[in-house]
């Protein structure tokens, strides 16, 4: 989960300064191209493009390594399967394609602040105001969903440790019941806090 949350690093690279819309569209276009254009050679080319972009955005190598570890494991498994079922070319292509996609997505996350994304989303859905959509609220919901992940993860670890301390690590009920209750309680508290700050009034 730590892969997508809190990775933003402020900076002044051209990628940081690019408008969010351009970045998102660019990511979408490149992703489609990566999937549509076949062959191992183009896969190498796309990976090179992704790496150049990551360099331009000055991604920290350690952040990249940590974030891509899971994707890499998955990509290798998929590649092995394809090698076995189809051909080495197909295997190399899907391995490199998956890594390129992940690297591009990561580059966007690292170079884009959530606030900017929220502002962009608000801009795009403002025309929907006429049909009763509140853009601020939609954007806040997206932001909250992303932001609640680390907190929920911390609650999960805490409740698991509490169950363990009582020697109940084998009982899913001793772990899941308090976890669910605490997540719901946290949601209520956050709701109260938002209301108290006048957000959504």
């Amino acid at each position: 989960m730590s892969m997508t949350v809190g990775l933003y690093r402020p900076g002044t690279t051209p990628l940081h300064r690019l408008p969010v819309g351009v970045k998102l569209l660019g990511l979408a276009a490149l992703s489609v191209a990566i999937v549509v254009v076949r062959g191992p050679l183009s896969a190498v080319a796309f990976l090179a493009v992704a790496m150049v972009l990551a360099l331009v955005g000055r991604l920290d190598l350690r952040v990249v390594a940590r974030a891509l570890r899971t994707v890499l494991v998955l990509a290798v498994v998929v590649a092995l399967l394809q090698w076995w079922l189809f051909s080495l070319d197909r295997a190399v292509e899907s391995l490199l394609d998956l890594v390129s996609l992940a690297l591009l997505a990561l580059t966007l996350t690292v170079t884009t602040a959530i606030t900017d994304t929220l502002d962009a989303v608000i801009g795009w859905i403002t025309p929907l105001r006429r049909v009763g959509v509140d853009p601020e609220r939609v954007a806040l919901t997206i932001g909250l969903a992303v932001q609640s992940l680390p907190g929920t993860l911390a609650l999960a670890l805490e409740t698991r440790n509490a169950a363990r301390a009582r020697g109940l690590e084998r009982s899913p009920r001793a772990y899941l019941t308090p976890f669910v209750i605490r997540v719901v309680a946290r949601a209520h508290e956050t709701g109260d806090a938002l209301k108290a700050r006048g957000i959504g009034d």
Binding site: I114, Q147, E189, T190, D192, A193, A196
Partner: protein, 247 residues
């Protein structure tokens, strides 16, 4: 100072089995002092009392108003006037970085993005968090996190600040830091706390017990009343486990 007025305000809830339970008995109060402390045991109803002031909890009978504005009918207007700070800043901080969280508070009042960011940075600087602007809210220490929560609430310059046990999760140094900050604010303060030293510095203190205000008066007398209610024998030498003995 704003005038916080409770007129026969009562809070009752329905239990799961349909029985009605009183959280706060009908209470009538007029609060105009700058610093108002609220003390009392766990589950005594002091949090409910605090939450009535900005409409987070609505009275089931009677009415609550701030400067004549009814908290139920004019909830949004009241919450613009009354800021609220929670015990656990983790529930209150909803954005990834410090500056973004303060910006969230300012979203409603400052539409211009550049101006909003500038104001948020100025607010952070005022609370000594200037260098932490782009740091993740999860990377802050407990004291800094509560400081940031306060910055987020005070960024919109409310007239009244209600704090529900703001120092309960903090160590001694941070308790003093947050306490000193709260008591030095120009805002009217309603401070719910278990920290009797902090409450002693208030102008008026309410002692809440079993859903009712049992004492209302000067700080020293209120604290003495609360301590006596916990251990009538000899509070100064009390060693009863699980009870707060005065420092």
């Amino acid at each position: 100072m704003a005038e916080i007025r409770l007129e026969g305000a009562e809070v009752r809830i329905e239990d799961a089995d349909g029985a009605s339970r009183t959280i706060l008995s009908p209470t009538t109060l007029t609060l105009t002092e700058q610093r108002i402390g609220v003390i009392g045991g766990n589950g005594s109803g002091k949090s409910t009392l605090a939450r009535l002031v900005n409409g987070l909890v609505e009275p089931t009978a009677g009415r609550v108003s701030v400067d004549g504005l009814d908290v139920v009918r004019h909830g949004a207007a009241v919450r613009r006037k009354v800021g609220f700070c929670f015990t656990d800043p983790a529930a209150q901080l909803v954005m990834p970085t410090c500056v973004e969280d303060v910006e969230l508070s300012l979203r409603r009042t400052v539409k211009d993005r550049v101006r909003r960011r500038q104001l948020a940075l100025e607010t952070l600087a005022r609370f000594g968090l200037a260098e932490r602007a782009d740091v993740s809210v999860h990377a802050l220490s407990g004291g800094q996190r509560q400081l940031l929560a306060l910055a987020g609430v005070l960024a919109t310059e409310p007239e009244v600040l209600v704090c529900d046990e703001p120092t309960t999760l903090l160590d001694l140094r941070n308790t003093r830091m947050i306490g000193d900050l709260l008591l030095s604010l120009p805002q009217q303060l309603v401070l719910v706390s278990h920290d009797l030293d902090l409450v002693r510095r208030c102008d008026r203190v309410l002692v809440v017990e079993d859903g009712a205000v049992r004492f209302d008066g000067p700080a020293e007398e209120a604290v003495a009343d609360y301590v006596a209610s916990v251990d009538p024998a000899d509070p100064a030498t009390s060693t009863t486990p699980g009870r707060t003995s005065p420092a």
